[in-house]
C-alpha cells in the first residue's frame, strides 16, 4: 500500500477579486509521507489548506483526496478520514474537554470508548472533565490535537501544531505525529517553526506569494541552491597552523583565542574535506559540522524566487 498517492493538487489557483492568493500550485503526496508546508504569513498556505479541506473552492484546478474530488458531494464521506488542527483552535468554553471530543467523535461516527485514550495520548486526562474555560492555551492546543486524531484519520492536516506549546509539549506533539505517520497516515504540517521541522519531515513545500517556490527533499533542496556546510575545528596552536596552511582557500574565520577554525565547503564535498583534514594526521580536539538550516533554505527560496523558479526534486 506504500507510495499510493493520497493527495493530488493539479494546477490549483485561487483568486479573491484582484488578489491572487494561490497561483498554479501542483503537487502530490503519497501515503505515509510527512510534508511541511512553509511560507511567510500571507504566502497562501491557509487558503491552500482550506481548499484541501473542501472549505474553499479553487478558482482553477482540481484537488483529489483519497480518490474523491474536494468539491464533489461524496467528499463528506472522505471527511471521516481527515483529521484537522486549525491554526487557531477554538472551542466552546462552557463545554468540558470530554463533551467537546464526544461531540466531534459522534460526528465522525468514531467509538466513544476511545475518547479517554485520546486525552491520555495528549497528556490531558486529568483535565478531561473540566470546562474548557479553565484550560491554558497549551491545553487547548493539545485538546485540538486530540480532536484531530479522532477516528484514526488517514490524512492529518496540522496548521501550526506547536504554537504556544512549551518545549516538552512540542516534543510530545512530534512524537505523536511520528506515531501517526508510522501507522501509515499522510501528514501535512504547515509551520513557521522551521528549525523544529528539519529532521522530522520527508519533504518540504515552500510557498511564496501564492506560488510554490520549491518542493522536495530538504537535503536535496539545500545542495541544489548552492548553500554550503560549515566545519568548525578546534586544535592546538601548532597543529592549527598546519591546518590553516592547507585549507587557507576554504577558510572563513579563525578565532585565535579559542584556536577555532571555520571552514566552508559545498554540502556534497563535506566528506571529502573531512577526509583531507584527517589525512593531515593532526591532533584535532573538537570537530563540529553545521549544515545549512531549513531556515536558510527557506530564506533563499522566498527572497529571490524569480531567479530560482519552481524546482521539483
Amino acid at each position: 500500500m506504500q507510495n499510493e498517492v493520497t493527495i493530488s493538487l493539479d494546477r490549483i489557483s485561487k483568486r479573491f477579486g484582484e488578489n491572487i492568493a494561490v497561483n498554479d500550485v501542483t503537487f502530490t503526496m503519497v501515503q505515509g509521507e510527512c510534508l511541511a508546508l512553509v511560507g511567510h504569513n500571507g504566502a497562501g498556505k491557509s487558503t491552500l489548506i482550506k481548499m484541501l479541506l473542501g472549505l474553499v473552492k479553487p478558482s482553477e484546478g482540481d484537488i483529489e483526496l483519497m480518490g474523491a474530488d474536494s468539491q464533489s458531494s461524496n467528499f463528506v464521506e472522505i471527511r471521516k478520514q481527515i483529521g484537522f488542527l486549525p491554526e487557531q483552535i477554538l472551542f466552546q468554553n462552557n463545554m468540558t474537554g470530554f463533551e467537546t471530543l464526544s461531540f466531534y467523535s459522534k460526528l465522525k461516527n468514531a467509538r466513544q470508548s476511545d475518547i479517554l485514550a485520546l486525552f491520555e495520548r495528549v497528556d490531558l486526562l486529568a483535565a478531561a472533565h473540566q470546562r474548557i474555560a479553565t484550560y491554558s492555551k497549551g491545553m487547548r492546543q493539545r485538546l485540538g490535537l486530540a480532536q484531530a486524531l479522532i477516528g484514526q484519520p488517514k490524512f492529518l492536516i496540522l496548521d501550526e501544531p506547536t504554537t504556544g506549546l512549551d518545549p516538552l509539549s512540542r516534543q510530545r506533539v512530534y512524537a505523536i505525529i511520528n506515531e501517526v505517520k508510522n501507522a501509515g497516515a499522510t501528514v501535512l504540517i504547515s509551520s513557521h517553526a522551521l528549525t523544529e521541522l528539519d529532521e522530522r519531515i520527508d519533504r518540504v513545500a515552500i510557498m511564496n506569494k501564492g506560488a510554490l517556490a520549491a518542493i522536495g527533499d530538504v537535503d536535496q533542496l539545500r545542495s541544489s541552491i548552492g548553500l554550503t556546510s560549515m566545519i568548525k575545528l578546534t586544535a592546538n596552536h601548532e597543529e592549527m597552523a598546519k591546518i590553516i596552511h592547507h585549507f587557507r582557500h576554504d577558510m572563513v574565520k579563525f578565532e585565535g583565542k579559542q584556536d577555532r577554525l571555520s571552514l566552508r565547503c559545498p554540502i556534497e564535498e563535506k566528506p571529502l574535506l573531512l577526509k583531507k583534514i584527517f589525512e593531515l594526521n593532526v591532533n584535532i580536539l573538537n570537530i563540529e559540522i553545521v549544515d545549512p538550516s531549513l531556515e536558510q533554505v527557506f530564506m533563499r527560496y522566498t527572497n529571490d524566487v524569480n531567479t530560482v523558479g519552481v524546482e521539483e526534486l
Binding site: 472549505l55 474553499v56 464521506e77 484537522f84 472551542f91 463545554m95 461531540f103 465522525k108 461516527n109
Partner: protein, 277 residues
Amino acid sequence: MGEILTMVAKEIRDGFRNRWVVMITLVMALLALTLSLLGSAPMGVTSISPLAVTVVSLSSLSIFFIPLIALLLAYDSIVGEYERGTLTLLLVYPIKRSQIIIGKFLGHLILLSIAIIIGYGFAGIAIAMSSEFGFAKQDWLSFGKLLFSSIFLGAIFLSVGYVISSWVKDRSTAAAIAIGVWLVFVLLYDMGLLAILAADTEQMIGSEVVTWVMLFNPTDSYRMLNLTSSAETASLSGMSGLSQDNKISDLSLLLVMGFWVALPLGLATSIFNRRQL
C-alpha cells in the same frame, strides 16, 4: 440522521448550559401571568370565559415577543460560530451543511417549545385555578391551539434568522438585520397597511386584497389563527370585522405558516452551501 441528532443534542445542551432556557421561560411565565391576571381584573364576574381573555392577551404578547426571541436565538447560530472560529472545524467534519442548519433549527425549536409550554402553561394553569369557572375542555383546546401556533410562529422566525445568519459576515450586522426584520414584520407592516387603508377613502381596496396582503406577513397569519378563532376572542381583540370577512380556513393559515418555515430554511441552506470560509 445521526449527525442531525448530534447537532440537536448539542444545541439543547448549550441552551440549558448558558441558562437561556431558564431565562426565557421565566420571562415568558412572568409576562403571561401578569398579562392574564391584569387582563381578567377589569372583567369582573362576567359570562366571558377567562380563557378568551387569556388567549387574546397571550397571543398579543406572543406576536411581539416570540419573533424577537426566535430571531435572537437564530441570528447568531451560523455567523456566531464563524466569528468565534468554531465553524471551520465543524465544517471539516463529515456533516452536510444542510444537516447543520436542520440540526440547529430542531434544537432551537425544542428550546423555544420548552420555554413556551412551561411559561404559558404555568400561566394557564394559574388562571384556571384562580377562575371560578375553571377551564372547560373546549378552553383547553383553544389554549393548546395557542401554544401550538406560538411554537409555529417561533419556527418561522427561527428560519428567517438562519437566512440572516448564513448570509452576513459579522454578528453585529446580523443583529441589526434581525432587529430590522422584527420591526418590519411585527410593527411596520401592519402600520403601513393601516395607513394605506386609512388613506383609501374611496374604499378601492377590497377586504379580500387586505386578507391577501396580510397573508404575506406570518405574524398576521398567526393573529388570524388565534384572534378570530371564536366570536369571543374576535370581539375582544377587535378583530371581529376581519373575522367575518375572513374566509381563510385554519388549515390554509397553517399551510401559509408552513411555507414561511420551509422557504427561509431552504434559502438559508442554499446560502450556507455557497458560503466560502
